[in-house]
């Protein structure tokens, strides 16, 4: 890999831009070379027009060609160690974690490659004609999913590989047949440049049309808004803050022609600890909780930010143990200074509520130059939570609030009063679960994933995963941003009526040449 050039990628061309910026190493607070050129609004237009021009050629390609492109990206990334080093400098995330994340990124790309090679995701449906039907003949109808068009992806800060330039949004959009224009996250521009170069190398090696991928650099919000508002943009993928995601969503809804914004905006992921579990293994839960909250310096969308338990001796013992674990937890370097500032503000805001108190913080001193924050354990009661909805808002970082409940009804009241979250977790015995059916039922209406006796961090990439939940967890609870179903976000159905086979996509030919699962005259068949 050659030296970083700091330019924007408009298809295969690299271009300078307007003002320049540099990445900051959060572990040292020092700026890192080189300077990166923020893209201009004119470059937004150029990238989107090029993506639109590439769309027809790209979507017309056989799935195995698009799969080869995804595989080539995966192979490029798998073979690149430089990106790990640069990501480590730009994010402060440990090398080992970044190696794991690279594996996940490669795995996601290959998962989508296999998915489109297999082909059944297009949900093909055929209803045969019945010319003899009265009073009117029945037409021949053939329906399948086709790609939406150019997609804009916003790189996330907290997964500089797996949810960034070649992350899940990009992989699923490219798999669906959509060209992608990435707005790189300004906290890791060098990592983004390296990955963009690898994607373009893969695109050229596999004969993809120019414009199938572009990437623009820069911290400006105007740039993001221009991408969302561009007439050629047909969908948006975003992972980040509620404020940021909502701004993009509002811009998309305000377009002449509104487009879907899949914004995953984080979550507080309530954890309910039921009496049986507390009695059986309160100390294990306290240790597991601390690990889950502090892992990755708490910078996961699925970080468990509130824990509700029934007051009892076992609960008191659990709280004591969690307190000790949090005191011993090491301070951690956050991804960038802005997140550290938000965390500190959030801690102060919670502290300012009467009846919310800090039980524990990391005992070791934090180093401001290393952008460190302490792990923080809060406690409060149900009444305070109910009067202060801010307690259930996401505090991004290694913090959680313990909420003491007095009764099963209290647990239900808390559940009823949280907004949408990505996950909720129950710790309990089988008897606990049977005794708390109503709590489960309430939580089903609030979240996308319900866990039993586990922790929500660590999101499995699988067909059965659901990473998405009711607002404000996401802007579209009907979709997931992790797992194979993520591809459905970037497609829509089209129906061909009485079309001759010569003009139909192969997926809808009578002989099923792609051997996909289809619904034919109401029957699932291959």
């Amino acid at each position: 890999m050659s030296k970083l050039h700091g330019l924007n990628f408009i298809g295969n061309k690299t271009e300078s831009g307007a003002t320049e910026f540099r990445a900051i190493n959060p572990s040292t607070s020092q700026a890192i070379e080189p300077e990166f050129a923020e893209a201009t609004i004119g470059q937004v237009d150029a990238a989107m027009l090029l993506a639109d021009a590439a769309f027809d050629a790209y979507r017309a390609m056989e799935p195995k060609k698009r799969a080869a492109f995804l595989d080539a990206i995966a192979d490029q990334i798998a073979g690149c160690d430089e990106v790990i080093d640069r990501a480590n400098q730009e994010t402060g995330l440990p090398i080992e974690r970044l190696r794991g994340e690279r594996g996940r990124t490669v795995g996601q790309l290959k998962m989508f490659a296999r998915l489109i090679e297999e082909g059944s995701w297009v949900d093909a449906r055929i209803d045969h004609a019945d010319p003899a039907r009265t009073p009117i003949p029945k037409p021949d109808l053939r329906r399948m999913l086709i790609p939406l068009g150019p997609v804009v992806v916003f790189g996330a800060s907290n997964f500089p590989l797996a949810f960034s330039v070649a992350g899940g949004d990009t992989a699923s959009a490219l798999a669906a047949g959509c060209p992608v224009v990435v707005k790189a996250h300004p906290a890791h521009p060098g990592t983004s440049e390296i990955v963009a170069s690898l994607i373009l190398k893969a695109a050229n090696a596999t004969g993809m049309p120019a414009g199938v991928f572009s990437m623009l650099q820069g911290p400006s919000h105007a740039l993001g808004m221009a991408l969302v508002r561009h007439p050629m943009t047909k969908a948006v993928g975003f992972t980040g803050s509620l404020k940021g995601g909502r701004a993009l969503f509002d811009a998309a809804c305000g377009r002449h022609d509104p487009i879907p914004v899949y914004a995953e905006m984080g979550s507080t992921n309530p954890v309910f600890i039921l009496p049986g579990a507390l009695a059986e293994r309160g100390s294990t839960i306290a240790a597991g909780l601390t690990q889950s909250v502090t892992m990755g310096v708490g910078q996961f969308c699925t970080n468990p930010g509130m824990v509700i338990g029934l007051q009892s001796d076992a609960y008191t013992a659990f709280v004591d143990q969690a307190t000790k674990h949090f005191q011993k937890a090491a301070p951690g370097t956050m991804l960038y200074g802005g997140l550290r500032d938000s965390y500190e503000t959030g801690v102060r805001r919670l502290q300012g509520i009467s009846n919310v108190r800090i039980l524990a913080q990391s005992q070791d001193a934090t180093d401001a130059a290393r952008t460190q924050v302490p792990a923080t354990l809060f406690s409060t009661d149900v009444k305070t939570f109910l009067n202060n909805p801010v307690v259930s808002e996401e505090l991004f970082g290694p913090a959680t609030v313990l909420i003491a409940a007095k009764s099963a009804e209290d647990l239900e009241k808390v559940a009823q009063n949280v907004e949408g979250h990505l996950t909720a977790t129950l710790h309990g015995t089988a008897e606990d679960l049977a005794a708390n059916r109503k709590l489960v039922s309430i939580l089903e209406r609030k979240v996308g994933r319900l866990l039993f006796n586990g922790f929500p961090t660590g999101v499995e990439v699988a067909a059965a995963m659901q990473h998405g939940g009711p607002y404000p967890a996401t802007t579209d609870s009907r979709t997931t941003s992790v797992g194979t179903a993520a591809i459905e976000r970037f497609a829509r159905p089209i129906c061909y009526q009485n079309f001759p086979e010569s003009a139909l996509p192969a997926e809808l030919h009578e002989s099923n040449p792609r051997s996909i699962f289809r619904m034919v005259d109401g029957r699932h068949t291959r």
Copy 2:
């Protein structure tokens, strides 16, 4: 059936309201008894709270119980002749057409009943655990679709049965497990009351919870907005005008927690007549087009409102024949005076464009007291269309615009310059289609359904139907409002991680007790 009471249905209770209004018989311009009470904002709140209270009990029911409810509604409607008479008085639609529409309504309800009895629509996915996996064990993940919550349905004027109180939106939402609150269309309040009574009779006979269905009367926009903005409302179904649909969409996007609005807002449904078809059967197409445009007085979302053909002697002959057919077409009674006024305004607006001319109008005089309008055939050329986008906007009623093109490029230019539509149609020979692949490709990006050698009116209710298209045809091109896939609009996925079987829905039990198609460890299986 007893006399109409003119009240609102808040669950099983009937209530008066604020101001009163009456239906107008468009065939006589006379008001019809009785007076109907417009619902109050307080009643919006009551209906939505009741729907929310019914939700848990309703969604927890076995699918066969919900299917029995849908079947009971279907049977009630199938056995009711009074609703046909009242609909005839309130809409001016002929008895025969309304009988057909009743059949369609009954068929839709039964289709969704069978769909949920069969059960595979929940898209169940299971990924088994692998406790031995390194570095971390793989959890057990089980995912399926669950209902969104209370749904608000706006009755459409042009299908007083099939897209109104017990129409496709209500049927699919109830099938998904969502309680429904209907805002009745003010042009047919009596028809709506009869159908609401039948639904409640069915609900009580099959043991449904109070609040599973409510219906509010009234013409006020404030009422509709209050329903969309109510915190308990989780999705909205609407069929009507672009202006109305967009207003609801904007209100839903502006909520604290945005919700999906499935607004089907009509369409101009371009028809392209290719040279081979014109030469082979120009006169058949002219007759078929006239029939499609004038059927139901042109009051279908799939009415073909623009027709593009290549200039030639055959095209001239086609135009002449269409002209004669339109002259002979009888004037027709529109559904209500407001639509007649909009049609007349729209005709004048098109007439006002230089180079747009009226080739033909129904020769027989129209009767204002019968709310009649003439069928109208316009003609213009590609240049005029390109300079006046209004030509491709929907003119609701029995009108179409013939657009003369000079070349295949002209056809493509027109296709490229239309916005989203529900359908597009090609008339041609197999050779025509082969020679116009680019035109087909352009149209795939513009519509939800592509027809070959047919007419877009007459929307088959089937698994492979797609009734929905890019904006402004609908607010969500990823969904359909006709066919079995319409149920997906009212559901979202939930994933259970490591849940004991006793706390899982039956659809996710290991033994597959409901015998549904599932994806288990990546394989489709029953």
